[in-house]
């Protein structure tokens, strides 16, 4: 007898509870499933993503920027890039969208326990790391020192400012840099790699989580290697075009791996096995 099959592609309705404008291009959408029972039971792990549906726009993968330690709401931080994300930026509180997930291999939180964690991000790249950082803060005694290096184009492009402020208050070493200064900016100017120069991490005790555009990514990897980080101590999350989210449709192929199901979180050691543009240029 044919068994009933769960419809893995069916989006569930979720309501926009709050919109946090992070900068002119990035907003964080605080969402809850309309089905309260489902919403209360929903759990994810940091580094996973949701497939988001918007009317007439199809679906796109968006990484979850909230931490599972604060259940009840899903945060999706979204940069305006294409048709679907542009439509999301037109959402208002109370509107509904479609969600399915969570999908993908998360950050290995258990392996990170007791470690000093160094987060390096550029632009929207801080979104997937935000959930990890907040998770660490919620279980502060399980992790070592927390350092966040964050690069933006200009001071007014600096996103997640309220998070950065809260993190600083809770003892996170947050350091910012911009590509181009504006009047009133007295912080660092230059690539995020330059912030690494000032750090003296206990490399053996540390793991680095990197997320940002390909150019930044490559530059940071070079710098980390010269600081003594091994490829196993560097984690990242990959961005790819996705359609199914569950490892079938192959749009997110990475030399034999699927970013959606084998990733999106990979260690640099794993990525080195693959021919991918992020590493080969």
């Amino acid at each position: 007898m044919p068994q009933p099959i769960t419809d893995i592609y069916l989006p569930r309705q979720a309501k926009v509870e709050q919109i946090i404008v992070e900068n002119s291009q990035i907003s964080t959408f605080v969402l809850a499933f309309s089905d309260h029972t489902y919403n209360n039971a929903f759990r994810h792990q940091p580094g996973q993503f949701m497939m988001v549906s918007m009317p007439h726009c199809g679906e796109a993968p968006i990484s979850i920027s909230s931490t599972p330690t604060r259940p009840g709401a899903i945060h999706l931080s979204v940069r305006r890039a294409g048709k679907l994300t542009a439509a999301m930026h037109g959402l208002r509180t109370g509107d509904t969208i479609g969600l399915r997930g969570p999908y993908g291999r998360p950050f290995p939180m258990e392996q990170l326990q007791k470690k000093d964690l160094l987060f390096v991000a550029g632009g929207i790249g801080l979104a997937p790391l935000r959930g990890v950082i907040n998770g660490c803060l919620d279980q502060r005694d399980q992790f070592g020192t927390l350092t966040v290096l964050y690069g933006s184009r200009t001071p007014s492009d600096i996103a997640f400012q309220s998070d950065l402020g809260l993190w600083k208050k809770q003892g996170v070493d947050c350091r910012l840099t911009v590509d181009a200064a504006e009047p009133g900016w007295d912080g660092a100017v230059g690539l995020v790699t330059s912030l690494l120069d000032d750090l003296k991490p206990n490399v053996n005790q540390s793991t680095t989580l990197v997320c940002g555009p390909p150019l930044m990514f490559r530059a940071v990897l070079g710098r980390l290697a010269s600081m003594g980080f091994s490829d196993h101590q560097v984690l990242t999350t990959m961005e790819r075009h996705m359609k199914c989210g569950v490892g079938i449709c192959r749009h997110c192929h990475m030399d034999g791996k699927m970013a959606c199901a084998d990733g999106p979180v990979f260690s640099l050691a794993e990525l080195r096995q693959l021919k991918i543009m992020e590493l080969d240029g």
């Binding site: 044919p2 309705q13 890039a81 075009h241 359609k243 079938i248 021919k275």
Partner: protein, 353 residues
Amino acid sequence: MPHTSELADSHLLKKDHLKGFLRKLAKEYRLVAPVRNRHSDVLFTVIDDLDAAEIELNEPPQNSLKQFFLPQQERLYTYTTSPEGYDFQPIPTSIPPTVYFGVHPCDLSAVLYMDVVFSRRQRDPFYLRRRQGSVLIGINCNSPAPKCFCNATGSGPFIEMGSDLQLTDLGDRFLVEAGRTSGHGLIERWQGFFAAATDKDRAARYQAFLEARGRFSRQVHVEQAIRRLEADAVPDEVFAELSLRCQDCGGCAYLCPTCTCFTISDQPLDAISGQRLRSWDACTFAGFTAMAGGHNPVQAKTEAIRQRFTHKLRDDVRLTGRPSCVGCGRCVGICFGGTDIVRFVERACQGSL
């Protein structure tokens, strides 16, 4: 390949009675078989009138079973937006229980591969609702077609698994082997059509296999290409040369019985409603990997072509132990620029033995 079927449950069906048997099946199942139409093309076709259909078991059909389990374009949901919210309604599809008759070993292997793709990581509801309740009746290939190379991919010309019933043409009769419980059930149900096969019949099957194996018109060194890919020994120039010739038609992927890449997209019906479609896609298209905003992690055609061949001949071997090219030859000779898998295998193996 063992010289007799591992499943000793074998029977005889006289060719004279094939149509009678199919007529019985057609009463309880939808019947699909390769039919030569009035334009002389052979297509897997839903047979409504058994007497009018010219079932063709020699020339391989131009389409495969892919389009029955993964249609070229399938409607998944309708959606509406209203003040109450944004709501998806699944589109119900009732697929009648279907007998797929006259399936060649390459296409049977392809179905087995698709079963893995659509249930390994997640059970794909849309594939499975079409696949469940299907009965596969295979036919071994006594005379492989000129473009065939299933001998090189381990998926023919005879096959030991994958079908419910497996037929071998022994001249005036078919040797029928029941591969699965459902196959035994079919034979039991209509046992009047079948006689017990003797060792002589099984010997005749083996003889047919030996002769078929000798009838391939080309040697395609698939295993060697697999080894070269695994050793990363295929020069970049091979992919560059092939990519210059690729004309971006997608035909190789669309005709391929194991190319299962798909896309999901929305088609608005009006301002507040629409439908979500799933349709075939091809990894050689530039837009296959392009992300919102224009960035494309596959930056050159060369890389797309590399992905196509490494997926079939390296990644799937790692995953399932065998290539997902089943040697059916459909993509051979149809490429606008001559970038087919046989040419790739030739180029990849150049200068090595």
